[in-house]
Amino acid sequence: MADLEDLYREIILDHYRSPRNRGELPAPPAQRVEGFNPLCGDEIVLTLLIDDGRVSDIKIAGTGCSISQSSASLMSAAVKGKSLDEVRQLIGTFKSMMSIHEATLADEADGAPVEPEPVDVRSLGELAALQGVVKFPVRIKCATLSWNTLVQALNEAEPQLA
């Protein structure tokens, strides 16, 4: 079960058992967005408060597997208090970490495997624990659900950044 332990690292199980920033902010004023993973039934409700160009508060509700839940929890902790620019950057870094496998697949299909862009996982802090997910491509969608929902919330909150 070596692979499994790579997927279910201690940090992940910890965030799964004790999710941070759990709940819903009153909306409005908070931005409220629902995300679905239609393939497995995961649902997420993300409420977000933006104040002076920063994520001043964020809460997560919904249900899902350990990967989607811990990813949401880790994300909420990581973005809370950050400026929108920093958040956008973090999203980019996280997504490149996650999409390594997808990119490889697509490139293989094109007949020309390309080296994935190196990702500076140090900048991800605790989030780096989700790295093991890329070995389980089906689960990437679980890990990215909350992040996609966050992107949607940001886009809806500030159309000028979209």
């Binding site: 499994l4 497995c40 995961d42």
Partner: protein, 417 residues
Amino acid sequence: MALNEMTGALDTELVRKDFPLLARSVHDRPIVYLDSAASSLQPSAVLRAMEEYYEAHHANVHRGVYATAEEATNLYEGARVDVGRFIGAPDPGREVIFTKNATEAINLVARTWGATNLGAGDVVVLSEMEHHANIVPWLMLAESTGIELRYLPVDIDGRLDLTGLDAALDGAKLLSVTAMSNVLGTINPVGLLAERAHAAGALILVDGAQSVPHVTVDVRALDIDFLAFSAHKMLGPTGIGVLWSRANILEDLPPFLGGGGMILDVRLDRFLAAEPPQRFEAGTPPIAEAVGLGAAVRYLEATGMERIRAHELALSRYTLESLAERLGEDCVVFGPPAGEDRGGVFSLAFRDVHAHDLAQVLDQFAVCVRPGHHCAKPLMRKLGVSATARASLGLYNDRHDVDVLIEGLAEAGRLFA
């Protein structure tokens, strides 16, 4: 025929030899396939039939004079007869329509029978345990025509609650229900539902996607009006499903999709539709797939649906007993207890481990189970869960498969302790 010489019962060891995929290993372990409710495996006989079709008889059907075109047509129409016989259809040549899958079959009814017989305020009765395939087509029809949908509730045991049946059917034009739940395993009393629907002046459509592969379904004995099912859940290939209906109903329906094969005549400004079943089979049909489905039906017949049901019922009992014995209250199985009204489908909850994680751990044991909402989100909401891990049986499963499942569940328990 893979039968035990002494008892006449199914000999699973022999059956398993017919299914090439069971020879596979995953993560260095022999595969344990427990996902037949999503899609069954195919016996070699089915694969050989399709291969032989392509290698020796392939041609487009219906319009050819030459030898292989005639052979292809006979094979295709022969499959119609096989399928009709299997479900007790009085007149297969006019009543069995080949579709893409069960989903298309139900959509076909909604778009032809529904669109011409239902208007604003007309009532269609569904149940809370329906697969999306038997909900969304009616929601789409409701959007365009304003029909009203009513849902038969599911009771605490996972059975249909029929106390309000007659009230629900009052004024209804159609009852559309699954014969067997793909989440709970519940086998619904279709004969009784048909009787009550007819008494209320409604027709009945039966979603047989889960029942046709596992229990004897006889459209005459059940006295139903429409039956929809998919080949890929009954040892057949992907890419083909079936709609059966009575000839006198089909005759009055408008066409579904337009194109070659479904017409008598076409002019620049009008067309004349062909008779059923051609009227509903626009374009080149799934020919090889029909051949494969015919072979699947003959395999099921040769094995015997009664034997298959007996085997799966016994294995269902073993599964439920073993889960209870070895995992105790940690493991919840939704749906009714093992018995005549339950098929081999087990939606599991194990402690607070999410279905997705259960399936992931089980995969390491080469156990194939399906996590998720199983295309039955309304039912999941009713059960108060967002996902279950579903193990489902086929005629090729044995006790060892169940034992490995339980071993894997126990490991998931340890991992998430």
